[in-house]
Symmetry: C2
Amino acid sequence: MECDVVFTAKEVTAALVLEKNVVVIDVLRATSTMLTALFNGCTAIIPVKEPEEGKKLLEKELLTRGEARENYVLGGERGGVLIPGYDLGNSPLEYTYSAIGQKKLIFCTTNGTLAISKAAQAKNLYLGALLNAGALAATLKKKGDPIIFACAGTRGHYTLEDVLAAGLIMHELKNQTENVALSDKALTSLVLYRYYENDLAKVVNFSKHAKVLTALGFTKDVAYCSQKNLFDLVPAYKQGEIRLGEM
Amino acid sequence: MECDVVFTAKEVTAALVLEKNVVVIDVLRATSTMLTALFNGCTAIIPVKEPEEGKKLLEKELLTRGEARENYVLGGERGGVLIPGYDLGNSPLEYTYSAIGQKKLIFCTTNGTLAISKAAQAKNLYLGALLNAGALAATLKKKGDPIIFACAGTRGHYTLEDVLAAGLIMHELKNQTENVALSDKALTSLVLYRYYENDLAKVVNFSKHAKVLTALGFTKDVAYCSQKNLFDLVPAYKQGEIRLGEM
């Protein structure tokens, strides 16, 4: 199985993802938060790129579907913090069952949802994080190659924790099959994971983005997102929505 | 000392390198070959971007300086092989004392000389490879920060061996001073080196570019360029020429 990695959302193009199985990774915090929401009973996530787009989409959903406002949550961030008029921010710890259970989430983040929208034409599009690496590897093994790990990065810059998660998923995949071929970037990602295998919190904390979040008071989020294989879940994007996919 | 890395020549800009100490790295093979030429008595290297530019420059040098043709070597590659009309290719093993000693080299390669020309406005601009990592670290320690390792890459793509060399140079720098601050990309590079510290040939051979060179028959070049700290030399670029700099 051929594995390649792109380091930032801005490198993702329709041509790149065509006929590929793609995993979008935004460890701090978009994909970790979406995983947590789905684990806690969120029925579906609609990713949007801009805050206003989320608000307009909510109005449209309420009007056309006749649904109650309490069946929806507007969530996401700009600059790491809550968007004015939104219900929840981008902290996974906010997405408890009482906050999101049986509700639909309209979700807007800076890097994660951008990467998803740019990879929307993939053959299969999954969400990955440290939290669900093992489950993802099992799904990827079934789906076959070629596989692209699309690290979201931060505003066009490389982020350590996303590449680390790509490395962990490849490590899990190699545990499940011998038939894995790595590009130069894929090997680098695998090595990053294996070097820090027993100390993921340390390397995640090292990253620039973790330092920004810590300065904003999100220390617990960083620790939470550094956990390995907490969920046996594989969220999949299809026709504008993210739901728990076939495993 | 703040260290950052760029993974490809195309990411190098005048704004990025301004007031910075920059190390251009093209392990396979441009910087390894230039180092070897300088070690074997080459008096200066003039990097050029295009094959025709090299030929015109040679004509001009011969006319304006009244020098003999045998005092110059036209060297470089396109597609990994000798350029028609050139004296030597891009194999370091060609640049023996009898071939290059006391001569000036006009040198044209695909990625390495592109990276040099794009980084020409740096405060100080050095050439790095696995072959001279220790000597470079000593120079960088003296020059101070910020430091940028500009990996040449291959036609805009990430190459493992250049990032490995950036990692080795930072490893040597950290051996010489405790005061080293690494960006996310810099830490990734350092980890790549440390993971393969005792088996550099293995990881260099893994790279896509090494496989291309091996298929072209340059197996010995790949092994040669995988050696660590063979030369105690620091080539520096100044006003269009590369010479052995102050250490």
